[in-house]
């Protein structure tokens, strides 16, 4: 075990309950008061292939999976072959002895055991839970309670099967790991759960989406909760429809959000530009996966940063922010919803598969979420695009006695189309003034997370890579200063001034180092080197700590 971290890895085919077993393991750990990070690695298919779930747990905060597992459970030969190098020193491998022999580990005849029950292969996951329960010294009663809570179908068969498997874990592996209890049970949620809940807490009225991994689970979560929270949740015919419906909804005063990944976002860019000129408040969740084009749908990358920064034709104000942790995702989504309504412009919550779909224990102060509230016009003589000192025109929504016109053409203050040179210039100036006001506002807010260290080198990172970096530093007992800008547009350069001429390294998941380029260009940072990973997998804290250490020396 790595200090007090314990890691459980379970692998098998899609449809065998791999992810569920990981999630049950996470709940077992959290019910012991421990903290958890779960990462699911799955292929873009529905049955077969190879999926695995890694759950790392610690009695203190943990922000990454470890790819060296103390307990590896493989349902098939492909899993064994895949995870040969993923076993920690002194770790145990438990394999399916009906599928293969001569593996270094403990063989359990999983296939022949599940054949005795009608649910057959669906029970593999329960077997993994039994193996885990046995190795960490849970009593059978404790195990059975977990199974009852987590697997509502076929409880009797599951308990009988689990009991058999539990007893088969022998050779000194029963009770091998005694995990210390933690301080309290905490909820386990994914990044997309946090984004959805943050949006609801921030005032969301309507969500529009088109299925695209890794953003789909926002659509699913909100569709399931639509009645509970009185939301309109719509699966439209394309991302073009999605963004344009959301803009129509915002015109009526509905706090609207959309979600997608790179390819869908490409279609939405005309709508982003539309929101720019019509000054429509709209929040888009852009969850990155490896591109270009279809790329690798179910894996992670950070290569759409430049695309987000420049999305949509024309000059207009884009607010872009990226959460570093699941907890931050909750607060930042509500905050971004508030900001797009304050400044009447499109915003992008930039995240990636690794945050969207990984789960972790959280300690959320839900009441602290911001609540979106537009500045409303009062009295008569309404002008939608009234030129004010800060460029922000008060809003009004139908039904109203006043005429409210939002226009995709350049327009006058009332919202009527114009081609007048003076008016074109005036409206550009009006919209451009909002940037100054936004920066003034952001200067009063937390826009960057800085953890001060002793080492003279600073590490810059953003998005979910922040979690990988923090875990790597903890593992390697390294202490550089870590800087994670939450806002990427406008980049909070006022916070970064002090680092300009210091020794800085960047860690990100893009081959061209898009984040490093942004820091150089906007903040004028001196950057010595960039640690990159772009194979679709998140960083492993042990490997990353070695790389950081090399850079620090």
């Amino acid at each position: 075990m790595v200090h007090d971290v314990f890691t459980f890895l379970v692998g098998g085919k899609a449809g065998e309950g791999v992810k569920k077993a990981g999630s049950v393991a996470a709940h077992i750990f959290s019910s012991m008061g421990r903290q958890v990070f779960q990462m699911d690695d799955y292929m873009s298919l529905i049955r077969g292939g190879h999926n695995f779930s890694v759950v790392s747990t610690s009695s203190s905060w943990i922000s990454s999976q470890y790819m060296k597992a103390d307990l590896v459970v493989n349902f098939d030969k492909r899993s064994c072959d895949t995870h040969t190098h993923d076993v920690a020193e002194g770790g145990i491998v438990i394999f399916n002895s009906d599928e293969q022999e001569n593996v270094d580990g403990i063989g359990i005849p999983l296939s022949s055991e599940v054949e005795k029950y009608p649910m057959k292969k669906l029970m593999y996951g329960v077997g993994a839970v039994a193996i885990l329960s046995s190795t960490i010294g849970l009593s059978k009663d404790q195990m059975n309670q977990n199974i009852k809570n987590q697997y509502p179908r076929g409880i009797e068969d599951n308990i009988k099967f689990a009991g058999t498997i539990y007893d088969m874990v022998k050779d000194g592996c029963q009770n091998k790991y005694r995990l210390e209890k933690g301080e309290k049970k905490r909820p386990i949620i994914t990044g997309n759960d946090a984004i959805s809940l943050g949006a609801i807490a921030g005032g969301l009225d309507a969500y529009f989406g088109y299925p695209m991994t890794p953003a789909s689970s926002i659509l699913h979560f909100l569709a399931k909760q639509a009645v509970n929270f009185g939301l309109a949740v719509v699966h439209a015919e394309s991302e073009l429809a999605v963004i344009n419906m959301a803009i129509g909804a915002a015109f009526t005063g509905a706090k609207s959000m959309v979600g997608t990944s790179g390819g869908g976002f490409a279609l939405m860019t005309e709508g982003m530009s539309l929101a720019g000129i019509t000054e429509t408040p709209i929040l888009c969740v852009l969850s990155m996966r490896p591109g270009p084009a279809t790329g690798v749908p179910t894996y992670t990358e950070q290569a759409d940063l430049n695309f987000a920064l420049n999305a949509g034709h024309g000059d207009y104000l884009r607010i872009i922010a990226s959460p570093g942790t699941v907890e931050e995702a909750y607060h930042l989504t509500a905050e971004m919803l508030d900001l797009v309504w304050k400044f009447q412009t499109p915003g992008i919550l930039l995240t990636e598969k690794h945050l969207s779909e990984s789960s972790m224990t959280t300690n959320l102060y839900i009441d602290e979420a911001k609540w979106a509230e537009p500045n409303i016009h009062s009295g008569g003589n309404y002008k939608r695009y009234k030129d004010t000192n800060d460029g922000i025109s008060p809003m009004l929504f139908p039904p109203s006695k006043e005429i409210i016109k939002w226009n995709s053409y350049e327009h006058d203050e009332i919202g009527i189309t114009t081609e007048s040179a003076n008016m074109i210039e005036k409206m550009h100036n009006k919209r451009n003034k909002k940037l100054g006001k936004l920066i003034e506002h952001l200067k009063t807010q937390k826009t960057v997370n800085i953890i001060r260290g002793e080492h003279p080198t600073n590490i810059f990172t953003y998005g979910s890579t922040y979690m990988s970096v923090l875990e790597a530093l903890k593992y390697g007992k390294l202490n550089p200063t870590t800087v994670q800008p939450i806002y990427l547009s406008p980049l909070p350069v006022w916070e970064l001034e002090e680092f300009k001429n210091q020794d800085n390294i960047v860690i990100e998941q893009s081959i061209t180092g898009q984040f490093a380029s942004l820091l150089k260009e906007k903040a004028g940072l001196n950057i010595r080197s960039v640690i990159k990973r772009y194979d679709g997998r998140p960083f492993d804290p042990i490997e990353l700590s070695i790389k950081i250490k090399e850079e620090l020396e």
Binding site: I189, A201, D205, V233, S400
Partner: protein, 279 residues
């Protein structure tokens, strides 16, 4: 006719069929008010093209969208606040070219909105290219040898994909068009009016005047309506199809209204707390 005009300079060509549509709508709004539909509840969207200029001229609130996306804007408005009466203006290129998928899906969903399709049979504002409704043989700047694609039949297409009120009107018969607009806007569900309107540089009123005629009677079933739409000539006016089917927003959330019945922050936080307890 009420004024209902803004101060915007009208830039349609003299004699354009769009004036007929504009005037019919200005007639229809007071008639709708007499029936209890307040003009404050009416909102409009438009795409891009000559049709869309009506947005600037009509003194009604709304959203001037992108080419082809106006029906999506309209759907979003209706979904967010179903108390609104939503009208969307489209051209034949805008609604059946760039925006075809959105038009079809709005009809499929039976969104409770009204689409008025200004059919001038040409891309007028971009200088006369052939549109999805242009007859074969049209020599425009993009088809100098004559267009050879077979045009859509907008009426049978919209009936087929799920619109529940489908009619054809004519910009030269303002009385009939006004009546048709009132019926379409009153209809609950997706209503569609194809309006024949000559664009002066490309067509003349004479090409329409002697050809327009009215349906003898309204078809009784969807099948009959599609047949009549297919087999009658393209200058046939009248209501081709009417049916009653649950509107999209009713299916989505019944009698709810996401804006007027919005849950307070505290209620939301209590519910979020419960969700987190179960996680």
């Amino acid at each position: 006719m009420e004024n209902l005009k803004t101060n915007a300079e009208i830039t349609w060509c003299p004699g354009c069929g769009n004036f007929g549509i504009f005037n019919a709508l200005r007639n229809a709004i007071p008639k709708l008010e007499a029936k209890g539909i307040s003009r404050e509840d009416i909102v409009i969207t438009a795409g891009i093209g000559c049709h869309a200029k009506i947005f600037d001229y009509l003194n009604i609130s709304g959203f001037y969208g992108l080419h082809g996306r106006n029906s999506s804007n309209a759907e979003g408005m209706k979904i967010a606040n179903p108390n609104l009466k939503v009208l969307t203006f489209s051209g034949d290129g805008n609604g059946l070219g760039e925006g075809l998928a959105h038009t079809i899906f709005a009809a499929k969903r039976n969104q409770d909105i009204t689409m008025i399709l200004h059919n001038n049979g040409v891309y007028a504002l971009t200088t006369g290219q052939f549109s999805p409704l242009t007859d074969q043989g049209w020599k425009g700047p993009s088809t100098p040898g004559g267009s050879f694609e077979v045009p859509f039949n907008a009426i049978s297409l919209l009936i087929e994909v799920g619109a529940t009120f489908v009619a054809r009107g004519y910009a030269g018969d303002i009385k009939h068009l006004t009546e048709t607009m009132v019926k379409a806007i009153e209809h609950e569900g997706f209503s569609f009016i194809e309006v024949l309107q000559p664009a002066m540089p490309y067509h003349k009123w004479e090409e329409y005047k002697n050809k327009v005629e009215f349906l003898d009677k309204e078809p009784m079933s969807k099948e009959e309506a599609i047949n009549v739409a297919r087999n009658s000539h393209k200058f046939t006016l009248g209501v081709f199809f009417q049916a009653s089917r649950k509107a999209y927003h009713k299916g989505l959330y019944g009698d709810h209204n996401p804006i007027t019945k919005r849950l307070s922050k505290d209620t939301r936080l209590d519910k979020i707390r419960k969700i987190l307890e179960s996680k």
